[in-house]
Symmetry: C2
Subunit: 258 residues, 2 copies
Amino acid sequence: MVKISLIGSGNVATHLGQALSCVKGCEIVDVCSPHNSGTLAERLNARPVTRPSDVNPRSDLYLISVADDALPEVVRQLPENPDAIYAHTSGSVAIDVLKGLSDKIGVFYPLQTFSKDVDVDMTRVPLFIEGSDEATTVLLLDLASEISGKVFRADSRLRGRLHIAAVFACNFVNHLWSIADELLGQDGLSLEVLYPLLEETLRKAETNRPKDVQTGPAARRDHNIINKHAETLPPELKEIYLLLSGSIIRSQDEPNQL
Amino acid sequence: MVKISLIGSGNVATHLGQALSCVKGCEIVDVCSPHNSGTLAERLNARPVTRPSDVNPRSDLYLISVADDALPEVVRQLPENPDAIYAHTSGSVAIDVLKGLSDKIGVFYPLQTFSKDVDVDMTRVPLFIEGSDEATTVLLLDLASEISGKVFRADSRLRGRLHIAAVFACNFVNHLWSIADELLGQDGLSLEVLYPLLEETLRKAETNRPKDVQTGPAARRDHNIINKHAETLPPELKEIYLLLSGSIIRSQDEPNQL
């Protein structure tokens, strides 16, 4: 039986904890969180703990899923167990933050945005795994494969690059939707009017390569419309409009921007 | 019986034609297209016509769904029928292009991106309607309501603004996905690894206001990560990264960018 101590009770901890508690041969023994650990612990049939120093010192795996900037302090307080694996779940923190706890350290990074009360199909969520040594890596890869069909090795450098891609594909995309929402608000409309268009745009991007299905004034090199649009926008949005339009035009010229 | 002549056989014409052919009291009498009109005409049980000048001169509605720059020439060739309504389906062309054909002109603009062989639920597609006079507008609104539950009045100015919002929300978004795809390609991955994340990002944006669910380094004002990311990017992508990050940060300060 793999005994797991889960440190954290946020969105990632909740979804990973639920998935791991269903894996045969795994047992979440305790859930550590300064607040609210009771709720998740109860759901996972685990012992609630409020301080990292009180976590079971004989677990096989310590899975640390807390805010990036809370990681060093949690690491300082956790019991040291040279036989255990310690892994964090962050996309942007290097594995080294765990050094000192054990020789066997790792990263167990789910590339997804979680909301506490929204179920996510974990079998489709990509998990990126790093381990301090091959045995640790393989153990974490095996565990990851129990909950997801998309498991990859990724060192800290690759995780950083995945994070940048996700910023473009998700954070910036959400911001563009926010800008559209604001523009539509001027006419008493909202982004809702574009929902079918957003959904179809995503469907198209997922069934093709997005570059091959690029549409719009820039893809058509319709400088007449581009200039007309830009003229009506306030300075900041005009700058974004022209920069992205130029980038679309150039990306069609060059096979690769990188 | 409303007799409709459909001019065009592209994606928009195909989807609108199919929807209209199912409306009780409507009949598509002919489909005009220099090429391929046979296929769509056959599917709609209509007469195939290759030249606009050969279109039935006694139709009640001429629905012109051709490329923007082909509109003036099609208009020049169509039979004039003072009793009929002439409407085009373009988001970016003013109603005036139809002047001279009849006093009753209009626009019937579906805000969606269509692919020929992919079914779209037309009842959810927003239709934006403009008419030269109230009677024409009401007739087009009524017809639109037969195929969609989302029908709006929109003059040429509003259509232009909708188009700008759609460029941000769809064309630019697709380009950001294309950039992410390219970045991931450097590590032998592709955008596919982000599909669950894209889908969840869209779900979140549709169940909230996107501005309220903005995440990422810029939303957290994590200048450390922003600068680290920017340093690794080639100049053009760095410029996009910094401009959009700055825009996210400013949009959180100001209630409204416009």
